[in-house]
Symmetry: C2
Subunit: 164 residues, 2 copies
Amino acid sequence: MKTPITLFAVLFLAVITEVHAADKIPAPSHGIPYPEGWQNWATIAVSHRTDNNTLRAILGNEVAVIAARSGNTNPWPDGAILGKVVWKDTQLENWEAAITPGEFVHTEFMFKDSKKYTDSYGWGWARWVGLEQKPFDDGMKVCIACHTPVKNRDWVFTEPAHFP
Amino acid sequence: MKTPITLFAVLFLAVITEVHAADKIPAPSHGIPYPEGWQNWATIAVSHRTDNNTLRAILGNEVAVIAARSGNTNPWPDGAILGKVVWKDTQLENWEAAITPGEFVHTEFMFKDSKKYTDSYGWGWARWVGLEQKPFDDGMKVCIACHTPVKNRDWVFTEPAHFP
């Protein structure tokens, strides 16, 4: 039989569990730990892929941003992490010619470590899917295949945008 | 008559002046001081304006980013600063369907202070043009006129993107 106090305890535990779940760090992708705090990284570039109707923000950790701003990107220095945040594109309600982020798709990261990742061209490749950031684990070869056109640019598509 | 030592001194002064000029903070726009350090602010959204072929990163200071991530944006809180970084669009050489930042155009900022900026709907409006960040001084009315379609959204076009 549930007394009011037992019910309160159950509700309290449910709330605590929910708060804890929201703070949970996503599991690794391809063995690479989730890069916590990337949401506050600085911007290196943006892009609009018209072939799959997505908008992207390309962010970087401090090592990557310093490299990008100073043109030191071929090769990128060890320790650099590049992050691509991907949304389906949509139109802004109040300015229809403005294409803006709609549904969130995934985050993709490249971790530069020329000693650790010798088998994958000096980069660790990872992806987390959806707002729940479910780790992608189909193998780095999937990422590498798509990036092959830029193997002479240290495997990076992004050209850092000009910043004053 | 210039001795080698005088020449050296002139060159040294020229270098020092150049370094100093590069560090110079741009003059105010509409009386608003330049928001130093915005280059490292976090991203709130991105956009591609197909009517004038520009790409934009919409950044925010800490107050603005906390408000954006928590949906507290109508009104935006006092202290929030929104920054729009604008580039002409171009195509990525190695992936032509990807539209990416080309020539840098300008930065635009909205400074929320509901007490200070009562004459301009609670916002200070400013713009700095080109990589040299030359202050725009044609009056806030120019900015306000364009933002009138979103006067019911606290004068802000940007809908914060979903972030995990």
